[in-house]
């Protein structure tokens, strides 16, 4: 099954996405990640104001069959979390790059996103991963 990729976002190998919006960065899990998890029933989000390091586990998503940590794509401060995703985890399945966003980060380094994979690189990474299976 093919998955969607947001051309304007940056990506981690652990299938998180991060997209600049003003001077903040919005983060979530990719369409590929939600497909692998299938129907989500639980989302646990970080405390607003928490200072996080890139690569740190900050959120949890669970389906009935599996649980997965969500990592912070960049270092910074959590400025907002999506309480709608906590109440209705299915919106992460339906719209992972939009209404199903998970948290916003005010980055320590405004250029931090540049270190992450762009959409093209992530698409290639997904293909590689697919080929390995």
């Amino acid at each position: 099954m093919t998955s969607k990729i947001d051309p304007n976002a940056r990506y981690l190998k652990t299938h998180e996405w991060a997209r600049a919006e003003g001077d903040e960065v919005v983060c979530g899990i990719t369409d590929h990640a939600q497909q692998q998890m299938n129907d989500l029933v639980y989302v646990e989000l970080p405390q607003e104001g928490r200072v996080v390091k890139a690569g740190e586990a900050v959120a949890v998503v669970e389906s009935v069959k599996s649980a997965s940590d969500v990592y912070a794509p960049i270092s910074g401060t959590i400025t907002a979390v999506n309480h709608d995703a906590e109440r209705s985890p299915e919106i992460v399945n339906k719209d992972p790059y939009g209404a199903g966003w998970l948290f916003r980060i005010k980055p320590d380094d405004p250029n931090a996103l540049n270190a992450l994979m762009d959409a093209e690189a992530y698409a290639a990474f997904l293909q590689e991963e697919e080929a390995r299976h």
């Binding site: 099954m1 497909q35 692998q36 299938n38 129907d39 029933v41 639980y42 989302v43 646990e44 970080p46 405390q47 104001g49 928490r50 949890v60 669970e62 389906s63 009935v64 069959k65 649980a67 906590e86 109440r87 209705s88 985890p89 299915e90 399945n93």
Partner: protein, 415 residues
Amino acid sequence: MSELKRTVLYETHRQLGARMAPFGGWEMPLWYASTREEHRAVRSAAGLFDVAHMGIFEISGDQAAAFLDRVSTNDVSRLAVGRAQYSFMLNDVGDVIDDIMIYRLEPERYMVVVNAANTEKDWAWLQAQRERLSPALTLRDLKHPSSGDAQRVDLALQGPQALNLLTRLLDASTPLADLPYTGVMRASLAGHDVFIARTGYTGERIAYELFVHPDHAAALWQLLLATGADLGVRPCGLAARDSLRTEAGLPLYGHELGGPLNLAPYHIGFDNFVKLDKPSPFIGREAYAEKAARNTLGMVRFRVNERGVRPPKLGDPVLDRRGRVVGTVTSCAADGEGVLIGMAVVERAFTSEGTTLYVVPLPEPMPEPLKPFAPIGNRALMPEPITVLPRFPMRPKPQASPQHAAAPSHRASPL
């Protein structure tokens, strides 16, 4: 760990884009696109399941019925030709070895379908009992190629449109519509030689299992999906199978039977499949009866009251209003609407419908215990309220109108 086995439909599942996962020693499809949609398809149309991992044995000869009566708890002497019965195999101390289906195909020929994960254990047990009790008996593994034309694998077609779909593929003289619940018949399904049994593991009444030669399984699978596409029939994975059987209140070996709690039929309200007084007593009878008499637990189905909570799983504690542990979760899944539904074994005083209990979904890793002045943002264990449902979903009274009979009716809870 030994290599995972694959069913004859493995490549078919890959082509359909299934997410594969290990189950009972087999690499099986977990879902194709969405567990929830597959769950709903079974309740409103029909779903096709690869259950070719299930073990299939054949027991034949003039001692077959007497033998089966010794090794299983239900009354085989009352099983008519062309019918099936649900039963349990117990060991000498009355504990469950497996739950099984026994199909009487011919007067002296029975087919026994067992859980995939238990197949080798069951086979060894049955062989040992055969040698001890009736060496003249023929016991065959119908999954093994040595059974030749008799070799079989199991596909399940479950849901209200299943009869319509199968009727399209049968010639007009095959009376499938007359096949009663738990009935089994031999038929030619578009040229494929099959045993069609009206049995299943989804709680559906219009539900069939098709026992077909493995060489025909992929062609039959494709044919069923193509012929049933306009009826809404779709392939369903093990995740939907689990959510459907959980919603239906049916036990899964390792969760509601045996498993870490060593659960038995008397724990789960299935003791009517254990005939303590049948003419030929089963192995483990005295020990079973003794334990049953001492049992203080019962099984409940429940729904988690709120959405978006951490899903409970096997082993999570169930509490009463005062925080005392009164039971243990055995299974939990999301139904067709995404509501978490589960089963738990609890003290009998808490089994009435409508009782409010609390489940504590234990996270991994466990959080630090709460202390005075715990920092803002720390997390603690959270008991979630659950409501006890009727032990089985309410089924509508049989109606004259077929439209009514086909209406989905499995919303268990009035809440």
